[in-house]
């Protein structure tokens, strides 16, 4: 069963152009010029129930706009949309009973009253029966270790504490689909880990479908089996994290430190029959890039086997997801990549 289905979804905003200077401002007063900006441009994807999907992209790539359309906040300009069996913006009040939403940058809780009072109010708003509520609250409070925070007003909580409370607030009605917009923004590593663990458990125990946007790729690595990458309103990658790595990972980088001088041509001839590329800063220091399909040990054997080359240090580094994503962002495209720089497109 599909939890989220999106077909040819677009959202364009009219943005007014501001002319320069006082004269321009006066002219704007009488005749406005508008630019049409496509925040989300013809995207299609579907997410099966029970999947955790990461939604990534640079600032302004259209992540939040998509989330806001999926949660019924914004009405799409065009395209079809089905989330948990509803068209979000059309049957908003019925639809939102099945979803939970956490905006990392915005609070769902009431600022001045105790956390538990906020929860009580949300229970009424969502019409959760007393018994279910108690059970669910106990479970969440215990899992997220909120015990002593419950009676404090929200304004006196730290960001980490507040974020955990936000999660509880969004999950009290036991939603089957949860949207998280930058849930770990600004949190320390311990709280981040805690929240990741919690989301993972929730997905496993309740089969909750989760769609999360983030700038922290460790969130993605820890949680998601699938990523959708967005750039300028278009999907540039949709698939597994492993595929992303193997397709765009530049392979493994091996750095050698030599005791005695070893010139670059010498190294190149040693591996002349292998598709590797060498770079060297000087005669004592060289780097080789081994593509994913090649065995690192093959390359190592060629170099280490030479008795006249004195090696003092070897460092092997795998391309991290961070690097891959940075590469993709920089070149701006991964799929249609016509003018990708570096080795990126050659692997695509």
């Amino acid at each position: 069963m599909k939890a989220i289905e999106v077909e040819h979804l677009s959202k364009t905003f009219k943005v007014q152009k501001n002319r320069d200077g006082l004269k321009g401002a006066l002219r704007d007063l009488f005749s406005r010029q508008y630019n049409e900006v496509a925040a989300v441009n013809d995207i299609s994807f579907s997410i099966p129930a029970g999947e955790i999907c990461g939604y990534i992209g640079e600032n302004g790539a259209g992540k939040s706009t998509t989330i806001k359309m999926l949660t019924g906040i914004l009405v799409p300009t065009s395209g079809k949309l089905n989330v948990g069996g509803y068209v979000p913006h059309e049957e908003r009040e019925k639809f939102v009973r099945n979803i939970g939403v956490v905006f990392g940058q915005r609070s769902q809780l009431w600022w001045d009253i105790g956390v538990i009072e906020s929860f009580g109010l949300l229970r009424k708003v969502y019409g959760v029966p007393e018994h279910d509520y108690k059970k669910r609250l106990d479970e969440l409070v215990q899992r997220l270790d909120l015990g002593e925070l419950l009676n404090r007003p929200v304004r006196k909580l730290s960001l980490g504490q507040r974020m955990r409370c936000e999660l509880v607030a969004a999950l009290l009605h036991n939603p089957s689909i949860v949207f998280l917009d930058e849930p770990t923004i600004g949190l320390d590593i311990i709280v981040k880990t805690e929240i990741r663990e919690f989301l993972k458990d929730m997905n496993r125990d309740h089969g909750t479908t989760i769609l999360l946007t983030t700038h922290d790729l460790q969130d993605i690595e820890a949680l998601c089996s699938r990523v959708i990458m967005l750039d300028e309103g278009r999907i540039i990658y949709d698939g597994g994290l492993d595929t992303l790595k193997s397709r765009w990972g530049q392979g493994t980088r091996v750095t050698f430190q030599f005791g005695t001088a070893c010139p670059l041509p010498r190294l190149q001839t040693l591996t002349s029959d292998l598709p590797v590329s060498w770079t060297a800063e000087n005669d004592l220091h060289a780097e080789v890039l081994v593509p994913g399909e090649l065995n690192v040990s093959d390359v190592l054997a060629r170099v280490v086997g030479q008795t006249d080359i004195a090696i003092t240090d070897i460092k092997i580094t795998e391309t991290t997801t961070d690097e891959i994503v940075r590469q993709i962002y920089r070149t701006g495209s991964a799929v249609n990549g016509s003018k990708g720089e570096g080795g990126l497109t050659s692997y695509a």
Binding site: K124, V125, Y126
Partner: protein
């Protein structure tokens, strides 16, 4: 039923919050009272110079003012859209509202609930009783149900007008100055419309029908037969203007563009 339950929940929370900021609460109540008192004093000053204003005696004008206060109190308790544009559009709190399973406008009413406003209604009733007895009005049983009906209708007219105007903020990013202007215009409604010229009478009757929240319904109790038909038009106007308000609100929500990230 669900919505009535929510009203009580939000009221409970209002009380809890207010207990934390007690001084603020009393300042608000007292400034409200002073404002009403200054309006009333203005009427007394005017009648210090004349006995009749466009055919209305002092006690009648005070009675109309008293009636005007009752629905206005109800309105300002439950419908408070003063800072809507700032809080919900510019700061983007509308996002949160729209992800909850209750009608969005109703949630906004509840979040801004302001029970001290009801004090104005109580004072309004007292003013009606005092000025009514000065006028030797015959109190009959139907006064009470009709008063309740007209109060609700008048509050609906206010609500309709204000949500229509507030829904404009879905189209324009910056908060408009139209709401404060409206609060000024509505003040005309607390005096008998017949004292104004024809254009203003027309405006206050058919375009911004603030005459229907004061003088027209109040005239029924005063037994002013020339306005009788207008008084009974109040419920119809209430339905029309509330409908316009809700429709333009719902259209506006579809145009909501969210704020920031």
């Amino acid at each position: 039923m669900y919505y009535i339950g929510l009203v009580f929940e939000y009221l409970k929370n209002y009380m809890k919050t207010r207990l934390t900021y007690r001084a603020d609460f009393w300042v608000e109540v007292i400034s409200d009272l002073l404002m009403q008192a200054s309006n009333l004093i203005f009427i007394f000053v005017v009648f210090g110079h004349t006995d009749s204003l466009g055919g209305w005696s002092e006690s009648e004008v005070v009675f109309v003012y008293g009636f005007y206060m009752v629905p206005f109190g109800l309105f300002s308790c439950f419908v408070n859209l003063w800072n809507f544009s700032d809080r919900y559009i510019v700061k983007g709190e509308m996002d949160r509202i729209l992800t909850r399973p209750a009608y969005n406008l109703f949630q906004i009413f509840l979040e801004n609930i302001d029970p001290p406003g009801l004090l104005g209604s109580v004072i309004g009733i007292l003013i009606m009783v005092v000025s009514g007895s000065q006028l030797d009005l015959d109190f009959t049983w139907w006064f009470i149900p009709v008063l309740i009906l007209f109060t609700i209708c008048a509050a609906m007219i206010y609500t309709g007008i204000y949500i229509t105007l507030t829904s404009l903020s879905f189209y324009s990013d910056s908060p408009t100055g139209i709401i404060p202007l409206m609060y000024n215009i509505q003040n005309y409604g607390r005096y008998p419309v017949t004292i104004y010229n024809r254009a203003i009478q027309f405006l206050l009757t058919w375009i911004l029908p603030f005459a229907f929240v004061g003088v027209y319904p109040a005239s029924l109790f005063l037994g002013r037969d020339e306005m009788l038909h207008m008084a009974w038009l109040t419920p119809l106007m209430a339905v029309i203007f509330l409908t316009i308000g809700i429709v333009s609100w719902n259209v506006g929500v579809k145009k909501y563009r969210g704020a920031g990230s």
